[in-house]
Symmetry: C7
Subunit: 83 residues, 7 copies
Amino acid sequence: MSETGAATVDDSKDPSGFLSEIIGASITVKLNSGVEYRGELQSVDGYMNIALEKTEEYVGGQLKHKYGDVFIRGNNVLYISQD
Amino acid sequence: MSETGAATVDDSKDPSGFLSEIIGASITVKLNSGVEYRGELQSVDGYMNIALEKTEEYVGGQLKHKYGDVFIRGNNVLYISQD
Amino acid sequence: MSETGAATVDDSKDPSGFLSEIIGASITVKLNSGVEYRGELQSVDGYMNIALEKTEEYVGGQLKHKYGDVFIRGNNVLYISQD
Amino acid sequence: MSETGAATVDDSKDPSGFLSEIIGASITVKLNSGVEYRGELQSVDGYMNIALEKTEEYVGGQLKHKYGDVFIRGNNVLYISQD
Amino acid sequence: MSETGAATVDDSKDPSGFLSEIIGASITVKLNSGVEYRGELQSVDGYMNIALEKTEEYVGGQLKHKYGDVFIRGNNVLYISQD
Amino acid sequence: MSETGAATVDDSKDPSGFLSEIIGASITVKLNSGVEYRGELQSVDGYMNIALEKTEEYVGGQLKHKYGDVFIRGNNVLYISQD
Amino acid sequence: MSETGAATVDDSKDPSGFLSEIIGASITVKLNSGVEYRGELQSVDGYMNIALEKTEEYVGGQLKHKYGDVFIRGNNVLYISQD
């Protein structure tokens, strides 16, 4: 059991490595609510707080809103996929 | 795995850097409930607790309320975007 | 990344400073449920647990109840605003 | 930022001081569900886990049940008020 | 503020003392869902994870099910009362 | 108060002892959703993450699905009972 | 009681061992929402954050979407089963 309270899994292959590799890439962030944010991944931290640039908001597949920089709080994130 | 239990991601580009850069800027804070608070970002901490000045509350895009200083608890925040 | 697991933001301007400044002031505490408690801020801690004096409960803007001292658990708090 | 991850507020006036002062007093504990438990506060800890003696359960203001000792888990608590 | 992030309350009277005293006693565990489990308290830990023996499940006051040993996860617990 | 933030209860009788004793036994895992998983308990950790072998999924008492090994995340667990 | 606040269970057989063994295998990840993601397990960490390759999204058993790499946040996961 890791000190942080979560079961320790073989850290050699750790999902956060996946996240580091897609910094600067175009990604889709799907929230638990179903809303999607697409943009360029500027940075992400261990709690999946995400800073996106040139961000677009999609609801039901429809473009609803364009932003510049958006900071999304990690706890709302369902998944991150590389476009 | 960071001591705090979250996967460590390359900290050189950390979303909190994004937040520091927009202190004093006009921002929109969208809550999970959909309500938006617009105002001047006075300060924000690591849990996304936010102190806003000259704050306006928007529900469904309609201005509902004007406040002075408002302290918003981080766990309700969906995203922060710079206006 | 701070030891506590949250992204470290520039602590010189920290929302808790805002809270310290309004000890003794008349404030409105809005809960996630929409219910509001108004009273004199006796004390608040880092988890936004709040002790209020001369407290009034408002539901839909209507005064529903008067209390003496009330201790509100922080996780229910949406925002705190100075009246 | 305190080590525990919450913004540090001026601890000289801390809500837990309020709680210590009402040990042995008659209190009302309101849960997030709206149900109220009234009784004598036997003890309370930092997570607002509460041990009550001579406990009465009120639903919609109606007395529903009488218990001896009841141990209430803190995360369900909305507020504690001194009768 | 205790190291664990919760306001420190006078620990001389701590609700967990209450729990230790009722090991072996017949208790009722009410869950947030309203379902009740009655049985003999075999053990309980600091997170209110509960091991019950000779357990009965009541829904709306009706006996629904009999078990041998049951291990209930603490986060679902509303209260524990001594029968 | 234990360092981990939960009230310390007499650890001599700790629910996790109950869990260790049923490794390899046939158990029923009831989730908060009401769905049940029956199988052989391969392992369980302190967060009630459970690895089951020869797993069967029951919804409303009806067998819905058979799996080989299944890893269930602890936070969804309501209770574990030994068949 | 482990330092991390969870009851310590016999760590010799720890569910995370199960997870390490299925790296590279074809798995099904069922979310609390009922949606399923099938793909090759690239990596998983102690919080069940999962990186999947060649990912397919199934809703109600119907293939809805194909992705390349997808990073799923652990807190949404109900179970992981090996296909």
